[in-house]
Structure formats: structure tokens, C-alpha cells
Symmetry: C3
């Protein structure tokens, strides 16, 4: 710089060609924020996709071996249906502006022009945001997650097709409507409700849908007997642990991607905080559940520990950015404790939740959503969101479950349930070479 | 801007230092496209690597428990050998210009200079592309995928070492040659053939090699008996489902990375479309197979559903960018239907394909490659590519299988097959603590 | 350019507005290197996180079925504790400048200001580096990896809580101190020691801690009998293989992320070389172990092959950047051979290492660290690092193990060990539906 100043008069003309370069720079705006944010959606999206595998493994590990094939079938089926329904109806319902109006909506289906045309140029792009395709991909995965929550609670007794029809309604209509209240710029967001990545919009909503189903479907045969809860241990805890680790990994995308931007120093730094906080909450939830289960039952409980980690994750999801690491630890630890305390509570109420999805996703989701008010101060708005989404999701889900029960029936026969859904409904065992105990 | 214009004369000299900055800018070209595209190869590459685990789990889950250790050994062995052979011979054969000539090829091995020197400067890099190391890493994974396809079909009866020798030839010579016809800038690409990410070059090619092997190796003992096909159910459907989810996840890298560029708005937007379409095709394949298996057999079939998802993925691989989401749905759904229809067809032909790799990778691969012509209009070029690669891969594979059969033998003894390859060939059970049924 | 030069006098004033743009550019420095490097830490970090799942699956697969629940509990517990201890003490101890002093450390815990404030602006960021949050996230995962190594060796006989207390000391104090000698800018780094991603700092250190534990804890009942080693085969080789593939995948983050920068052409190109070399070393380790086990025992050995891949990964970790692909192949292959040779050696010494973690992480770690001297020429510094970290980690670990043994005891009762830790300590089987052989 110093050198240049002294040479300034001399270089005036020589330097002029570089003016041309500066003009080029003017013609070529900075496309990098667009690329970074799109990349965030793609990475976040594939990580949240991976959570579908996590739910499948967790649930397959926590059901008895006679129902594993069915649980796997439900999980891959529900993801396929969610992907189709969210495209067919959900995304448009949730983000009317983005889906329907942006670019020549054609007929009842997303046309090619609903995503960006092949060969999009910088001049055509909204350079402070990201590609619609990446956004759709990312949001779809959240919708599918909501459905995955339901399948665990209702395992080992619900029929396949009524369950999948419920999933179609949940992912095509129920979730998109309630989520649009907040993320579609709806009335809840205007009321000051805050739910960063979906403790309520995704997790509690899934939990409410599951609870409605559990009440209408009833518990498994023999689960509650003479005032006692009969343990029905999961058939493969290695799978359940794998599922938990998969969900933990996917959650970095779930929460980190929900920053919705990565193209500035501030945004990528926030994504980093979110990653660190998300991990801390999960760790704290696992450790808290491990210690509390040791204290209460004198024996550490692996499934409680796994669900504790998941509850920690659900808890931090409503606000993974604002807390310090210590705040994230507290938020997650409380989530873990909630699971250990509420799992037996559900048993007392004779609500049969096979994998503990209601404590993990609904109860910890409510806690996490409430805890946001420690940072925003707006307790009223948080309660409003929790209650309104709870009532809507629970009531509409219950109506759908009732209709399904009244029309096609939702429960397998007593004989099929006792023999296991795998042989009676599918004719295919998950582990045919191993003798059952 | 407005302010500056009025001040222009006054700031002329003051502003001159910033000319220096502009000159710096000239010296420092935009390196970001290079970084973005390299990053695409790295992320895409590790996702496709992950598919090796997916194939291992899918195949280990679909063989009987007495052959699981062998199937796992084959899968990790084949990846190791593919990685070495593609480096030793394959990459150079496939991209002669990139591998051999770029930068001081030394002796029979890739020298250090074949990848970029440590500390590469912007001035030395081709800034509109990516690092050779990332490209090699990415392409290697495609080569290994081709080999993974073969191991599933030939499971439960082929000897380990002849199989691995075949893999060495396939990954070192056969795949690189046929892939070079298209991706190495060869005659097929000049003939107008189009195969975006390898429905034919990778998947059908693997399927042809598997078919050749299956015909020469023959079916498992007892598989076809008195004109009837004897079911030999897989030992662990949870693993098979996990493998399918892994493959689905990895496929985002497989197809998305094949855009081969991420440094512009257009490219990253195209990658996003590819992600969304790839997911849609998989979902549609799964749902189509689930519904068709229900319709045909009155019972939903999990393994058909898993293979349906994979067939959807294979189908969209030849053209994941051009279709609308609805087009991707149709492409994938047809793939899923093909699987349900052709699996029993192979049985009738007494071709024993243990995991269904031929329907999934060969038949759906042909469908996907043909379907490209809906977008390009060039049916002739698509047929040319399918047929030429089919004949080449099948014939050369058959020759190699025949030589192996004639020299060292490719099939285990009858006794070993009946007792299971794990104990007879390896002396190591996969699940030693569980009683076999 | 040419055109502009001839027009130069005429455009002088017209071009002046673009001077303003150049000034804007001066005000807005290039934030992309900061974003790229932060992204490298985030991607690298979630990949290394995934290794925790890999260790859990590998170890759950290699223990007998009666100890699987306990092994899973240990693995999720140790990760939770590592995450908390590294935050509470470790990170500050390892990087005193970054953790304690940067930004208003408050009390005994990381305050909110220890990570970046929400909404960090470009002006506040160190633009040639990355966010502290991403760095913390990334480094934490290395600390947890060290603990994961220990759990495998001591499986099937150690009590849960003493093990977790050891983990707390290891991750809060021991690892951070020895790692600070090199990565915290300590005396070893000044002495010229070189350990790129932690062959010694992470892997050998974990191995030394495991060795100390194994010596003090003693072998499993019945493992060494009448001068003979009794095989105790792992209960689920499919899980063990999955764990190996997970670790292999995670290692791309482990080594690639250790480049610690991705914002220049040189850095991203180096990351690419690291990916390619890491993969080659793993492949070579697997193939070498497969071939050597065939040669020595006349039967290929899957667990040797898995450990061979891991040993290849550990070996290349000390220097994944400098070697050519052929160099990486040699380094990894030697690692694989070391495993096959040293596993029986440990048996002869009656050191009971359930999963082979000492050969893989300690012996191959020493080899990989030594091999760096082929590139640096500084053998003395490499030996100094290996020995000093070895003595420190082994001695301090041994002291901690002794204290734990003397106070609360570290070993379960004989009866508990024979019946299996799952039922005796946890009251929960991992596979309750399957009859044990």
C-alpha cells in the first residue's frame, strides 16, 4: 500500500486495465452464499434422510423378533409414502408461495419448473438464498421424520395398510398445515412462537399423532396384566443402539441445517454452535438417563440411556443456537431425566408405547419448546404454540384413526398378534435361522 | 454509488490505492469453483464409499446364516482389491490423459506426481475444475460399486479366491475399458450415448458380469427342485434393510457427485435437482414394489420393497437431472415394478441370483438407460450403448469365469456348500452363539 | 484487456464508479476461506462422531452375546462422558489460549462467550481460520475416539462405573495433556515431532491406556488355559464388519479434517490427497491381512481382515498427506501385517485384548508414527514422541487403574463374568429371543 501511494501518479494509466476487472466483478455478483446455503441444505438433507434408517433400526431393535420384518416394512414404506405425499400436496400446502406460485405450477403435480430449470444462471437465482430443489429436499426429510415417530409407538399390533394411509394423511396434510403456521410464515410465527428446528412442529407433533393412535389402538395383548406391566424386551439392542447413533448423527443436519443459511461468517459460525450444542445435549441426556436409571433401579438401563440421548436431542431442537454449552447440557440432561420418569408413568396409564417415542418426542419436545422462553422471555407464545399444535395434531389424528378403525380396522387379529405379525401378515421372518426362546 | 459519482473528481487520487487492491484481485483469481467442485467429489466420494458397506449389509442379510462370514469377507476383500487395481491399472486405462500423462508418470505405479504435489498453489491449478486426487477418489468408488454388484448374485457357492481374482480383472480392466468408451471421452460418448451416473456403465455392467458368473457357476444345491423354486430366505432382514438405507444414502453422492461441478449457481442447483429426483425415484420404486407385491401375492414383501427402492435408484441413475419430480417418480416406479416381475422370471430360467442383483442392477439399469431417450430423443444411441456394453462385459466376463473354472475351479465342494461356507471354508461362524433352526 | 487499454483515457472518469466497488471489496474481505475451513471441521467432525458408532458396533460384534448389552452401554456412556469432560476441562487444558483466554472465560465452565457470539460478523472473525465452535466440535471427537479404543480391550470383565470413571480422567486430563504437547503447540511440536492426525496422540495413546488396563485387570476367565489360548469368537461378525466400514468412513473426516484448512486451492487439494491415501492404506491393510491369514492359517480370517483395514487406517494417520498412493499402500499393508503377527503374540504374553485394539491402535500406531521419518528424516523426534507419550499415558493410566482397583474394584465377580455381564450387571439381554448355543 505504502509503495503504491508513492507511485500513484505514475501508475494511474497503467492501472486502468484493472478497472476493467473491477467492472467484471460488478457484472459477476457473489454467488458463493447461494452455493454455501444450498450445500447446507443438501448435506443437512442427507443427514436427516439418514434418520429414517435410524428410526428403522431403533424400532426393529426394540420390537420382539416376531414383529421385526413388519416394523422394517412399515419404516421403508412410510418413508416412500412421505416422499410422495409431501411432493404431491405437502410442500405446496406448507409454503404456498414457494411451491405453487414461484414458477409456473402445472396441474396437480410439481412440474419441472417448480424446481429450477436445468442450467440456471446466476442472473436467474435469488443470490441471497438457495436452490428450491435443495430446500424441498431438506424440508421433505422433516416431514418424513414426523411419520417415523408414529411407527414406533404403534408397533407390534397395527395393520400395515391403515398405518400407511395414516402416514399419507399425516405427511400430506396434517404436518404441512401445522408446520405452515410457523415455518410457512403463518399466525404462530407472527405470535412470537419460537421453534428453531422443530421440537414441537416435528417431534411433539409426531408424538401427539402417536398418542392418539396408541389410545385408539389399545395396548398389546398381555402388556398390562393384573395391574402390572409385563416387560416385552426388544429383540436386538445392538440394532437399537445403532439406530440411536444414526439419529444422533442425523440430528446435526436436522438442527444445523435449520440455520437455513451458511453463506456468511455469522451463519456458518452459528451452524457450528448448533452442532456443538446438539452434541452436548445428546451427551447430557444419555449420561443423565444412565445415572438416574442406576439411582432408581440400581441397574443401569441401556434402552433408557439410548432414549435419554434422543430426548436430549429433541430438547435442544427448539433452540440449539442461543444456549451456551452449559445451557445445552442442562437442557439435554432434563430431557434425559424426563424419559426415565415418564416411561413408567405411561405404563401406569396403560398407554402402550413400544419404543418410548411419546416420552422422547412429545414430553421432551414440550420441555425443549418451553425452555426457549429462558432465552426469549416469551412464555406465553411458547405455551400457545405447544397447545395449539398439540390440539390440532391430536384431534385431527384421532379423527383419522377413528375413521380408519371404523372402516377398514387398524388392528391385526388376536391370533396374528400372538403369533407375530411377520409370519401372520407377511409370511416372512426377519431372523429365520435362529430359534426363538 | 450515487455519492461516489458526485465526488468522483475529488476521490480520483485518493482512490488510487484501491487500484492496487484490484490488481491483487487480478493476481488472485476466483478459486472457489475449484474448491466447491473438489468438495463435491470428496463428499460424493465418501457417500459412494458408504455404498460398499450397504452392499455388504444387504448381502449379509440376504444369505443364510451359514454363509454370512464368507459374504462379509468377500465384500471387504473386493473393496480392497478394487481400490488397489483401479489405482494400479484402472484409472489410467479409463482416463489415459488424466492418469498417465498429466504430470510425470513414473514406472508401473502412480507416482506422487500423479496426484497434485503437496502445497499446490492457485497458479498451478486448473481453476475451472477440481483436484485430481478428489476425482480419483470419487471415480474409484464407482469402480468398486461394479464389483459389489457381482458378489451378491454369486453368494453361497462361489470360492473366495477365484471370486477375488475375477474382481481384480473386473475393476482393473473390464470396467475401466467399457467406462472409458463413455466417460473417458470414447466412441460411445461421441455416438451420442447418454448415461449420467452409470445405469449402464456401472449397474448394468455389474449385472452382466454377475449374470455371466451365475450361468457358469450354476444355481445353489436344492434351489430348483422338481420344477419348483425352493425359497432360501435371508437370515437377517434388519441388516438387509439397513443395507438398503445405506445404499439409498450413498446414492445421493453417486448421482449428485456425477454433476462433476458445484462451483456455479447452475451446477449446485442441478446437484439439488439430482438429490430430489434420486430420492423420489427410490421412494417410488419402494412404494410400487410394495403395492405390486401386495396385489400379486396378497402379502406385502419386504425384500421386494427393498429391491424396489434400489431398482428405483438404478433407474434414475442414467438421467437424474432432466426429469421433473413427477418424471423421477415414474422412472423409479417402473424400476420397482420391473423387480417384482423379473425376480420370478429368473427363477423360471433357473438362474440363481441370491440377492436379486440382476433384476435390480441389470434390468432396471437397462430401463433407466432407455428412458433417457424420452429426454434426448436419441433412442438409437441408447440402444447402442446398452448393447455394446452388454456384449463386451458379458463376453469378457464369461471368458474370465471360464478360465477360472477350468484352472482353479470356482465352486466349493457339495459338502462345503451344504454345511455352509463359513465353517467349511473359513472355520468361523458369523453368529456362533445362536442355535440354527 | 486489449480493448480496454486502447480505450483507457476515455473510460477514466466513466470507470470511476467502479472504484467505489473496489473500495467495497476492501471493506468486505474474503470470508470464504473461513466458511470453507469451518465447513471442513463440521463435516470432519460429524464423520469422526460416526466413528463412535463404529467402535460400538465393532466391539458389540466381537464380544460374546452374553456381554453385548454391557458393551453397548459402555460405548454410549463413554461418548457422553467424553463430551462433557472435554468441554469441562479437556479443551481448555489442551489449547489454553483458545479455550481460556480468547473471550471472557467465566467460572469453571465454558461460558457462552467461549464459543462465538450468535450473529458474529465478518469484522469480528479471524478470517484466515474457522469458528471456535467448529474447532471444538471437531477436536472433541478425537478425544472421544481415544476412549473408544480402551473399551474394546477391556470388554467382558470390567465393571461399568469404574470404566466410566477412567474415561472421565482419560478424556478430561490424560489425553488433553499429552495431545497439548504436540497440537497445543507444546514441547513435542517444538522438538520436531510429527503426527498429522494422531497415530500416536490418539491411537497409540488409547492403546497404551488399554494395555495398562488389560495388565491390571487380567484376562477373562478361561481365556488362557494350560498354556493354550481358548478362542472366544465374537457373537456377530456382521456387526463387526459394519463397525469396520463405519470407522473407515469416519476416518476420512479424521485424517482429512486434520488438514485444518480448506479455503485455498492448496488446502482442498491436500485434503483430497489425504482422502485418497487414507482409503488406499485401509484397502492395503485389509488385503495384506487377508492374504497373510490365508498363508499362515490356510484359511482367510475375517476378523483379521477387518483389523487389518483398521491397522492400515491407524498407520497412515501419522502422515496421510506426504506419501504417494504407492507409499500409502506400503504403509497400510505393513499395518495389516503387524496385526496378523502381533495378535497371537499378545496371546502368548497372556494379555487379553478382546477386540485386538492393542495391535491395531498401539502397534500399528507406533509403526505409522515411525514411518513419518521416511518423509521428514527426523527419526529421533519420532521416537521421542512415541516414547514420551507412551510412558506418560501408560504410567498415568496405570496409576488411575490401580486407584480404581484399590478403592471400588474394577472387575465383576467370577459368577457375573461366567453368566455374562448383561444379565448379572444390567438384567437385560441384547438378543433375548435367540437361544444361546
Amino acid at each position: 500500500m505504502k509503495l503504491l501511494k508513492t507511485l500513484a501518479p505514475a501508475v494511474a494509466l497503467i492501472a486502468l486495465p484493472s478497472l476493467g476487472l473491477a467492472q467484471d466483478a460488478e457484472a459477476a455478483p457473489d454467488v458463493n452464499p447461494y452455493i454455501f446455503t444450498t450445500l447446507l441444505f443438501l448435506i443437512g438433507g442427507f443427514l436427516v434422510f439418514w434418520m429414517a434408517a435410524g428410526f428403522a433400526m431403533l424400532e426393529a431393535g426394540l420390537v420382539r423378533s416376531k414383529n421385526v420384518t413388519m416394523q422394517l416394512t412399515k419404516n421403508i414404506g412410510l418413508f416412500g409414502i412421505a416422499a410422495i405425499m409431501y411432493w404431491l400436496i405437502g410442500f405446496n400446502l406448507m409454503y404456498p408461495g414457494d411451491g405453487w406460485m414461484i414458477s409456473g405450477y402445472v396441474g396437480p403435480f410439481f412440474s419441472i419448473t417448480s424446481l429450477e430449470p436445468v442450467g440456471l444462471a446466476a442472473a436467474d437465482a435469488s443470490l441471497d438464498y438457495a436452490s428450491v430443489g435443495s430446500d424441498f429436499f431438506f424440508q421433505l426429510m422433516f416431514c418424513a421424520t414426523t411419520a417415523s415417530i408414529v411407527s414406533g409407538t404403534l408397533a407390534e399390533r397395527i395393520k400395515l395398510w391403515p398405518f400407511l394411509i395414516f402416514v399419507a394423511v399425516l405427511t400430506g396434510v396434517i404436518y404441512p398445515i401445522e408446520a405452515s403456521w410457523q415455518w410457512g410464515g403463518g399466525w404462530l410465527s407472527e405470535a412470537g412462537f419460537s421453534d428453531f428446528a422443530g421440537s414441537t412442529l416435528v417431534h411433539a407433533a409426531g408424538g401427539w399423532a402417536a398418542l392418539a393412535g396408541a389410545l385408539i389402538l389399545g395396548p398389546r395383548i398381555g402388556k398390562f396384566k393384573d395391574g402390572r406391566t409385563v416387560p416385552m424386551p426388544g429383540s436386538n439392542l445392538a440394532l437399537a443402539t445403532l439406530g440411536t447413533f444414526i439419529l444422533w448423527l442425523g440430528w446435526f443436519g436436522f438442527n444445523g441445517g435449520s440455520q437455513l443459511a451458511m453463506g456468511t461468517v455469522g451463519d456458518v459460525t452459528d451452524v457450528s454452535r448448533i452442532f456443538a450444542n446438539t452434541n452436548m445435549a445428546a451427551a447430557a441426556g444419555a449420561v443423565a438417563a444412565l445415572i438416574l436409571s442406576q439411582a432408581l433401579y440400581k441397574k443401569p438401563d441401556l434402552t433408557m440411556t439410548l432414549n435419554g440421548a434422543l430426548a436430549g436431542l429433541v430438547s435442544i431442537t427448539a433452540e440449539p443456537l442461543a444456549p451456551s454449552l452449559f445451557g445445552a447440557l442442562l437442557t439435554g440432561a432434563v430431557g434425559g431425566l424426563i424419559v426415565v420418569v415418564t416411561v413408567p408413568m405411561l405404563d401406569k396409564l396403560k398407554i402402550d408405547d413400544v419404543v418410548g417415542a411419546i416420552p422422547v418426542h412429545l414430553f421432551a419436545g414440550i420441555w425443549g419448546t418451553l425452555a426457549v422462553a429462558f432465552y426469549t422471555g416469551n412464555w406465553g407464545a411458547q405455551v400457545l404454540g405447544i397447545v395449539s399444535i398439540g390440539i390440532f395434531t391430536f384431534v385431527v389424528s384421532a379423527i383419522v384413526w377413528f375413521i380408519l378403525k371404523a372402516t377398514m380396522g387398524i388392528r391385526v387379529s388376536e391370533e396374528a398378534e400372538i403369533n407375530g405379525l411377520d409370519m401372520s401378515e407377511l409370511g416372512m421372518e426377519a431372523y429365520p435361522d435362529f430359534t426363538k426362546g
